[in-house]
């Protein structure tokens, strides 16, 4: 049952991603492609270079190119820095790994803090396992209690 649910969820998530690759929109690509002159994404730039790249993207969408085909053409003309997402190899791989490492380190820190916090809430060891009272002290306590009852 769990396997079926997982498969259905994976298909539900994969379908929009595949549709986006096959039928990209300018809006979508504008946020993922850089303007090489102004070093911002295309959606934040109105420079002449950015306008030309946007026009190129529109032409390629009309020609029926997929998102990955358009990205490949842009990388061939401009180099990998045209894509806002850093490449997943070499030094740029750090941009992908460091946030994951940060999240893992944060999770470990929170886990440790929670573990320590729960340990502190256990009964104090001094109150547990108190031995028998001293006979003299016990006798005095009995006397006090009897006087209190009278």
């Amino acid at each position: 049952m769990r396997l079926v649910v997982t498969a259905v969820a994976a298909l539900a998530l994969a379908a929009p991603a595949l549709a986006s690759d096959a039928h990209p929109t300018l809006n979508e690509l504008e946020g993922e492609v850089m303007c090489p002159i102004c070093h911002t994404t295309l959606d934040q730039s109105s420079s002449a270079a950015a306008q030309r790249i946007k026009a190129f993207i529109v032409r390629r969408i009309r020609a029926g190119d997929s998102k990955s085909e358009i990205e490949r053409r842009l990388v061939a003309d401009f180099g990998p820095a045209i894509l806002a997402q850093p490449p997943k190899h070499g030094f740029d791989l750090l941009a992908w790994l460091l946030p994951i490492a940060g999240i893992l380190a944060g999770a470990v820190a929170v886990g440790l803090a929670a573990w320590r916090w729960t340990r502190r809430r256990e009964p104090e060891p001094a109150l547990v396992g108190v031995g028998p009272l001293d006979p003299e002290l016990e006798r005095r306590l009995d006397d006090e209690l009897r006087r209190f009852d009278e």
Partner: protein
């Protein structure tokens, strides 16, 4: 146990911050500050940086080494650049006028869609060699905008003239002619 755990966590955090700082320092140190434009500004005229770039039309590559023995005008341009449209006919005239003396005008199209660049060249009837380069070539040469022009002499060495803007605008005309004269000097 608690104290050692706390110390280990603190050490890990300090190591993380130190690592990030080291990365920042590495990146700053490895930034290319020795660009052609900077060298020329400091009066250094060493060998021009080698490159081999695909022709915009017709296939094949053009390398700077293959032009040794010729004076080379290295002109950076792009099809979206309005002043480049004004400049290209002037460069075409210059190339035709001096080609017998061994001048080559080499147009480097960068930060541009290559299809747009081809249309631009056909429309303006450019016949001097044109190549297409990835964005990084701007960093190597220290180009900050287009058009920009550099000169390489017959020995493959930089000439200490750098023209920012169209070569025939205002004072750039004098700079261009000086660069041309120095590049064309016989070896």
């Amino acid at each position: 146990m608690g104290r050692s755990l706390k110390l280990a966590a603190q050490a890990l955090a300090v190591a993380g911050v130190a690592g990030l700082l080291a990365l920042l320092v590495w990146r700053v140190v490895h930034q290319n500050r020795n660009t052609v434009a900077v060298q020329i500004a400091h009066g250094k005229t060493g060998p021009a940086p080698a490159f081999s770039l695909p022709r915009l039309e017709g296939g094949g590559k053009v390398s700077l080494a293959s032009l040794r023995g010729k004076a080379v005008v290295v002109n950076f341009w792009a099809s979206w650049c309005a002043p480049c449209k004004r400049e290209a006919p002037a460069l075409e005239r210059s190339w035709k006028q001096h080609s017998r003396q061994g001048l080559v005008v080499l147009g480097i199209d960068a930060n541009d869609v290559s299809g747009d660049a081809r249309r631009f060249a056909r429309k303006l009837g450019i016949t001097y060699p044109l190549v297409h380069a990835p964005t990084t070539i701007w960093d190597d040469w220290g180009v900050t905008g287009v058009p920009e022009t550099f000169f390489v002499d017959r020995r493959g060495r930089l000439v200490d003239v750098h023209v920012a803007g169209p070569v025939f605008d205002g004072t750039n005309r004098g700079k261009y002619e000086r660069g041309l004269r120095l590049a064309l000097r016989p070896v």
